[in-house]
Structures are given as structure tokens and as C-alpha cells.
């Protein structure tokens, strides 16, 4: 018993070293993996957020073809910064729908006027209810939705130019 106790600290410490070493040599993973990946979208039915785009309901996102759902707001600066990337994705033939968070129709219209309008439909989530149900904690965020209305990928933060090929890949594999 005493013999065992004497060597116990060393054994514990070796476990410790193994743990440290594994932590040290693990590639640094800064990506937050969403728990909603693989889950169906929550049901929602939102009013139109812009004058010249139809409103958005969750059933419309299960239309057989993978698409993007962009969460944005007219008052959000990074959302303006990601507009060219969204435009590039639309030009590549990707259907994009959007939800405007805590916004007003006039502001959304002005925002789209300034930054271009890559969206097919825009729903207005005036009190962030759908955003919270989606597990999104800020703007902008972008979801890849597969043809059956399930979340395939959640992109937190703005889409940078070098993210575009990755997003296209995700869309392809969601087919």
C-alpha cells in the first residue's frame, strides 16, 4: 500500500505530461462547430424586410436545392463588408435568402441600395426570435441549408474573399 502511494505521484504526473503533450501538438482549432449542423431549420414565417423582395418562410428553404441563408442587419458594418462576397456567390449561381435582424424596411432598402442586393427573399426578424432559434449569436452569420431544409454548415462572422471557395464546397457537398 505504502509502496503504491509512493509511486502514485509519478504515475499521475506522467498522465499529466501526456495530456499536455497532446494539447500542445494538437493543431490549433479556432473554428466553433455548431451543434445545429444536421438539424432541420426551426419553423418560421417572417414578414418582408425590403420593399422589392418577397417575405421568407422556413418551408421555402427546403426546395430541393442547397442554398445560403444570410443573417444580416442594415446597422451592421461587417455585413456591408461581406456584400461583395455574397454578390460573387450569387453570380456563381447560388440562391441566397436572408433574415434582417432588428431592422426597419426603409433602412434595409437604403442598405441594399448602397451595397447591392444578392438576396432572393428577405424576412424581417424584428426581435431576434428566429435568430436565437437558429443558434446565431450575432451578425453577420451565414448558414448553408441542404435541399431538405437541414443546416449543413454555420459560418460565424463575415464571409471573407478567401472563404468563398470553402462556402462553394460546402454547398456542393450538401447536394
Amino acid at each position: 500500500m505504502r509502496k503504491l502511494l509512493i509511486w502514485l505521484p509519478l504515475v499521475l504526473f506522467l498522465g499529466f505530461i501526456a495530456l499536455f503533450a497532446s494539447g500542445l501538438f494538437q493543431p490549433d482549432d479556432r473554428i466553433i462547430h455548431s451543434r445545429l449542423v444536421g438539424q432541420p431549420l426551426p419553423a418560421f414565417n417572417l414578414p418582408a424586410a425590403a420593399s422589392d423582395r418577397p417575405p421568407l418562410a422556413s418551408s421555402q428553404l427546403a426546395a430541393g436545392q442547397p442554398r445560403l441563408l444570410n443573417i444580416f442587419a442594415s446597422w451592421c458594418v461587417p455585413c456591408a463588408a461581406e456584400a461583395p462576397q455574397l454578390e460573387a456567390l450569387r453570380a456563381a449561381g447560388v440562391p441566397i435568402d436572408a433574415i434582417a435582424i432588428r431592422d426597419a424596411r426603409a433602412d434595409v432598402d437604403a442598405f441594399l441600395q448602397r451595397n447591392g442586393n444578392p438576396y432572393a427573399r428577405i424576412g424581417l426578424d424584428a426581435r431576434s426570435e428566429v435568430q436565437i432559434a437558429l443558434g446565431s449569436s450575432g451578425v453577420p452569420e451565414t448558414f448553408v441549408i441542404d435541399g431538405k431544409g437541414r443546416i449543413a454548415y454555420q459560418h460565424i462572422g463575415e464571409i471573407r474573399a478567401d472563404d468563398v471557395p470553402m462556402i462553394l464546397d460546402r454547398l456542393r457537398s450538401a447536394q
Binding site: 509502496k3 499529466f16 505530461i17 499536455f20 503533450a21 501538438f25 494538437q26
Partner: protein, 641 residues
Amino acid sequence: MIAETGLAALWLAASLALLQLVLALVGLKGDKPDLLAAVRPAAVAQGVLTAIAFALLITLFMRSDMSVLLVATNSHSAKPWLYKFAGTWGNHEGSMLLWVTVMGVAGAAVALFERALRRDTHMATLGGQAAISLGFYAFLLFSSNPFARISPAPADGQGLNPLLQDPGLAFHPPTLYLGYVGLSVAFSFAIGALLTRQVDAAFARAMRPWVLGAWILLTLGITAGSYWAYYELGWGGWWFWDPVENASLMPWLAATALLHSVTVLATRDALRAWTVMLAVVAFSMSMVGTFLVRSGILTSVHAFAVDPERGSFILGLLALYIGGALALFGWRIGAVREGAPFELVSRETLLVVNNLLLTVILGLVLIGTLYPLMTEAFGHKVSVGAPYFDRIAGPIALALMIAMAVGPLVRWRRDQAKAVSKRLLAPLCIALLLFGLVSVLAWGRIGILPFLGLVVAGSVGVASLAPLWKRNLRRTPLFTYGMVIAHLGCAVSLGGMASDSAFTVEKLVAARPGDTIETAGWQIRLLQIQPLAGDNWTALQADMDVSRNGAPVTIHPQSRFFASPPTTTSEAALLTRWDGQLYVVLGEEVEGGRWQLRIWWKPFVTLIWLGGIMIALGGALALLGRERRGWLMKWRARAAA
């Protein structure tokens, strides 16, 4: 030239450490006294050389020599001199140089001043100290050279992290490092004693002042760090269970346990193996803490070197030293005889309880700190926050406080349960009284832990004075006063913590100049907000008149902007009164010319740090008392001869 001289001094010190190790090993093995005679001078010379290297690095920072990479990346010519000076250790390389300097100087001190230890154990200890130093020299010279040049030299430096531009930086890290590295002496003592199989009361008496000294500095360093975080981060909290805070708390917990067990060993020749184990654990915790901070393996506000190469280097050192020490422990401790026995009702038992509780807290803090790492190994990401630590460490700490109050009232070796309970009667009555009082005043309005904290703090505070009861106060030894003050400090600190979490009033408002805010009996009038320029920052400063039904005092919370690197820090305005602190933070401007203000009234929060200072002061008195007794005895012996 200065940088090259510094590097040369460092290489020379490293070679001396190697020499010191070889001399001690060969001398002890072959019993060659002439070789052993050179060990002490080598240790002293090594200490002097590290001090020279460190002084030269300070010179480079003071002169803003931008041709030195470290200065260029961490300093700026426009910085006030204090931050140029303190900036020397506000970065990875400089702080590691501080580490080896403290280690070298501590080794020199052991060589010069240690007289109580048996000669062979003393030599083995110095050999151990040299072996540890060597690893850190290698780390500095091969992967973190502080004296590396940069060519071409940039026009100016990149500046120091603004959070660090605070007078606290001049004081907090060196104190903490002195404590961390001071524990390396205890570690080397343990190695020396294991090698020469001398684990007895004489060994404990020799080791005690070093442990006590390191522990005092660690206590001061943690207290200062806590206060620094409290006023500099502007969050109103005084402990955040950040991995680096835990990294400083864990060696402190181990050192506190060691301090008590070494006293048992010195006084009663019991707890031999346990004391040696704790001496190994205490410094191991210092090294583990350094590893956690320097490797960037855990995210923390203190992590300035996120670099896997350096991480692997320190990990290798950890494996070598701690693994080696634990293996030596397993191999040799069987040969150490069992210490003296003691009865169940005795001070020894209480000290064992104290040690166990401290070790349990240490283990729980360690698990909480490493848990994110463990789950990540299995693919889950979690973070462990304050609720875990508060809930788990809080109750055990309260039990520990009670053991602390009872311990000094129990006699060594054997005592009568009846007599002990008689001595505990008065504190127990006070505990009941306080329980009633706090119940009446605050029942249902405060959490259970703060509630118990208040009751325990009050009664333990009284109980910690009990060892002075019915004693001739003029003939009470200084170290007894030290113990009483340190224990009282624990109670005072606990009282502050409990009062802060029970009674703090927080208010978040948006106010226009001219508005008056009422909270917790204070009237706070926002006069104006205006820009202000400092040495290397600009700020928005609010002028506020605050009063508590009396003459107003003007306070100035600031929001500071630093240009290099671009950062905003908040300088909270603190108004200290005898019964607490008013803590005001200026936030951002919101619409309509209104400003966010965050206001706290924190009753008796200052007791937390006052208690910390009392604990350190108690330690200092105990150290002085023990040492003075040694001097007196020596002086009397000499006078008699």
C-alpha cells in the same frame, strides 16, 4: 556592446551552473572535499553573473536601444521611464531572464547564508539548484534569447501592452517570481535530502526560512496581482479564476501546506515523506504554472508567447525535473524512517487536516484549470468558469478556516478533547451570536456561501486571537505573534470576500452631464466629460462630484486610448472609505449625449487585500522571530565561550 556583454554573462553563468553540478556530483560521489570546496564560490559567481545580465537588459530598455529585437517589439521611446524599466519583464524573454536571475541569486544566497544544514546535504542542494538552473539557461539561450539583435534597427518600438502600463507592473511580477523561484530552493533542499537520506528535524529547520520567505513573497505577489486586476480591468471583480491566477494560487496552496508540515517536521519530527513530497509539489506547481502561461496552451490574458516550440521546451524541462524528482522520491523515500507518532487529539492531527484540505483545494483548482484541455483531447470544447471554482473551493476553504482556528488551541503530541472544547467555548459562542445576527440582518437576501463566510470570518477572527489569551504578551515569542496575525489576516480577507459578494450594490446607468445618480446612499453628480492627454495616451475623463450626505469629493474615471499598440483601457475611479469602496467606470457614449456609467458600492472590499498584507506580515514576523532566536542562541553560545 551592452547586449553582447549580457549574452556573454548569461553563457558564463550557464557554464558555471554546469560546473557547479559536476563538482557537487563528483565531489559527493567520490568524497573529494577539495572539489566540494569550489561548489559554493561557483554558486555565488553564478548569482552575480545572472544579476549582471539582468541589469544589462534593464539598461537596454532604459536607453530604448531599438537595435535589440526584444526592446523594439516591446518598448517605445515615448514611454514614461517607469514602464521602460518595468517593461523589461513585461514580455516572455525578459520575464524568463528574471526567472533565472532570481534562481541564480537564490542559489547564491543558499551558498552564502545556509549554515544549519549538514555539509553533504548542503552540497547536494546546491547541485540540485544548479541542475534546475541549467534547464532554464538552455531555454533562454536556445529558444528565447533576450539579447538578440535586429538589423536594420527600426525607427521606434512597437510599445507595451497598455494593460501593463501601470505602476503595478513594477511590483507584481518580480514579487511573484521571487516567490515562485524561491520555492525552487525548497525543491533543491528536498532533492538534496533525498540524495543524502537526511530527512529529519534539522533538515526541516534549515528549510523553513526559505519556504517562509518564498511564501511571504508569493502572498504579497498574489495580493498585489488581485488588486491590480481589480482596478485595472474595470470589471469590479478581484479574482477571475483565470488560468494564470490559478497558476499563482496553486503554488501558494502547496507552499502554505508545506509551511505547516515543515513546522511539524521541525518541531515533532513527524510527516517526513509528506513534507518532502510537498516541497517537490510546490515548485512543480510554479513550473507547471509557467508552462501553462508561456506555451499558450490555455487562453489567458497573461499569455504573451503563443509558441509551440517554446511550449515543448518547457514541457521537456517539466518532464525532466518533476518526473526526476518524483522518481527519486519513489526510489529513496522508502529508506527514510517513519517519523515520530502522535495521538488523534493533537496539533499534529489538525495540521494534517489543514494539509489535506489545502491539497484537496489544490487538486480541484488544478482539475478545473486543466479540464478544458482534457475534454479537448476527446473532441469537446468547454470552459470552466468562476461558478465551478466558487462552489467547489468555497466550502472546503470554510472548513479549512475552521481547522485553522482550532489548530493553535490544541497541544502538540497529545491533548484532552475536553480541554480543547473548553478552549473553543468562547469562539463557538461568538459563532452562534454572529449566526443569529447575520440571520436577522440578511437572511434570504444573500447567498449561503457569503452568509457562512461572514459567520466563519467573524468567529475565526476571534478564535485566531485566542492563542494570546492569558499569556504574558511581552514574553510571547515573535513567531507566535506572526502566526496570530497571519491567521487573523485570513479571517479579515474572508470577511472582505464575503461582504463584497453579499452586499455589493451595482448600478448601470446612462447619464447626461448635470444628472445626479443615487445609489447605496451615495449621490453621484456627473459634471462634465472632456478630453485629456497623457504621456503616451489620450483619454476621455469624466468629472464627478460624489457625496454621502456631506461635502462632495471629485473623482475622475477615464477611458484611455493608446496609440501603440492601439488599445482602449478603462481607468476606474476608486474612492476608498473606511467601510468600503466606490468604484466608477466610464463607458461609451450612447445616443442623446448620454454616457454609460457603471457604479459599484463595495462594502468592506478593501479587507480582502488588507488581509493579504496581514498574512504576509505575519509570515515576516514568524521568519524574523525564528531567525532572531537562532542569532540569540548563537550569540549566547559565543558569549559563554
